[in-house]
Assembly symmetry: C2
Homo-oligomer: 269 residues x 2
């Protein structure tokens, strides 16, 4: 884009506080942007910043024509109203796809959201590129978080899967999961999905990112998914590993969303 | 409300063209408003009206402080962009709950939409008042229309049901439906849900409104649901009839949404 029209897409990242995992995620995102030529702006606010300060930062990025995408790194400290902050991001720059207007347009068939949440978009991309048919397939989505489980269910339904959502109140989650041709897990509990939860030949996307203690590791922990990988590999036709599976694809989708947004801005300024 | 604060809630209805079923629905809504003291305004546009004319009417109602709810009766004639018209209704007056912002907030747990679509809200009301536990129950929602199936799925999930959506591309819809404790149907095909699709003791809500020819009837047709009522009654613990089941409750929910909106307007003008 820089070479052809002399302009670059721009991504703004807002971070509050010093959570180590959040800073790791941000570093990965910034590095990826750098590699593909997306300009980045980062605003780091202290843990005890006020809602007003944070809203002001978002508002500044909303107005800034060099910024095509805005990420407010979640989770925010408890004293900040996450809902209000997310609603303050312009839907036209909401590259995370978390604004309710974009989520509503994702839910409603026949409409096109401006942005689809990155992990969910990555999940579909992975299925399509792996030649997995989605239409008519039974899918179990385990977990219903606003940022992964929910939009993934909605997106799979747009692709005409028959989706069942499994959550903490589901009786016999293993039974529903065992009937699914495609299983997507985003629970946040290590190894909750066992081998006997899975249908032979199923396609499994593990969205979990869980830290478990591991004294043998340099950091004292290692990252694992929701699915018991060792058991699953004996049953399923394919499974994404954690780490290294859906994570990098999610980052690619963030770059893709930012590029799409920049194209829209340059074509219809 | 009139007696206590001297003010009435107001509902505006916009209708385009002369579809007989639409006019029947509107007449029922206006009559119900009249009975409970909700003031009504109706604007009837000709079949061939322009999008600009329709948008102007909606915009007028958005601005009018006497109007607390706006309904644009669907479906609209093909030359009008339904999405654009729905988006033009102020989310604060969207008593149908069809605006993507309200739909997004319905989908996202922890958030509160200003309005929940009336048929879906009626469905939950019916379950709760009938003492049917929703949490943890397996629910099959057959059909995924934007105005009934989708919001009903989303709302049931908010109530912690384990929801499976069944649609035209679902293989073995009868199998999934047969496993459900609660079945909600909104397909628009008479008698598609047969007795052997249903689990013994299930609770069935039939949202279908289908006209079938009936020479013995005064109009030459009669209205029937999606579920084969005669077969279902032998299997299930309860089923809503069509007509007379979910329809009147849906109208009540419209009145309730309009009243809620008026209260918000009078308390925070």
């Amino acid at each position: 884009m820089k070479a052809s029209i002399g302009k670059s897409p721009g991504l703004a990242v807002v971070s509050v506080g010093k959570r180590r995992d959040s800073h790791t995620f941000i570093r990965i995102k910034l590095k990826a942007c750098d590699e593909v030529g997306i300009a980045t702006l980062i605003e780091e606010l202290p843990e005890n910043c006020t809602e007003h300060q944070l809203l002001n930062v978002v508002s500044g990025f909303n107005e800034n024509p060099l910024v095509h995408g805005i990420i407010v790194q979640l989770p925010l400290p408890q004293h900040l109203d996450e809902e209000k902050i997310i609603d303050s991001v312009s839907p036209e720059k909401d590259v995370d796809g978390f604004h309710p207007l974009n989520m509503g347009n994702l839910a409603m068939r026949g409409r096109e959201p401006l942005f689809i949440p990155c992990a969910s978009k990555g999940c579909i991309e992975l299925l399509l590129r792996s030649g997995v048919e989605i239409m008519g397939k039974k899918v179990a989505v385990i977990g219903r978080s606003k940022i992964v489980g929910l939009p993934t269910s909605l997106l799979l339904q747009r692709h005409h899967a028959t989706v069942s959502t499994v959550h903490a109140f589901t009786t016999n989650p293993e039974k529903i999961t065992r009937e699914a041709d495609i299983v997507v897990s985003d629970v946040g509990i290590p190894n909750i999905v066992r081998g006997n939860w899975l249908k032979p030949g199923a396609f499994v996307i593990d969205m979990g990112t869980n830290r478990i203690k591991d004294p043998s590791s340099r950091n004292g922990y290692r990252v694992t998914g929701d699915v018991c990988f060792k058991e699953a590999t004996k049953v399923v036709s394919a499974i994404t590993p954690v780490p290294g599976g859906i994570g990098p694809i999610t980052i690619s989708m963030l770059l893709s969303n930012t590029l799409d947004s920049a194209k829209r801005a340059f074509i219809f300024p």
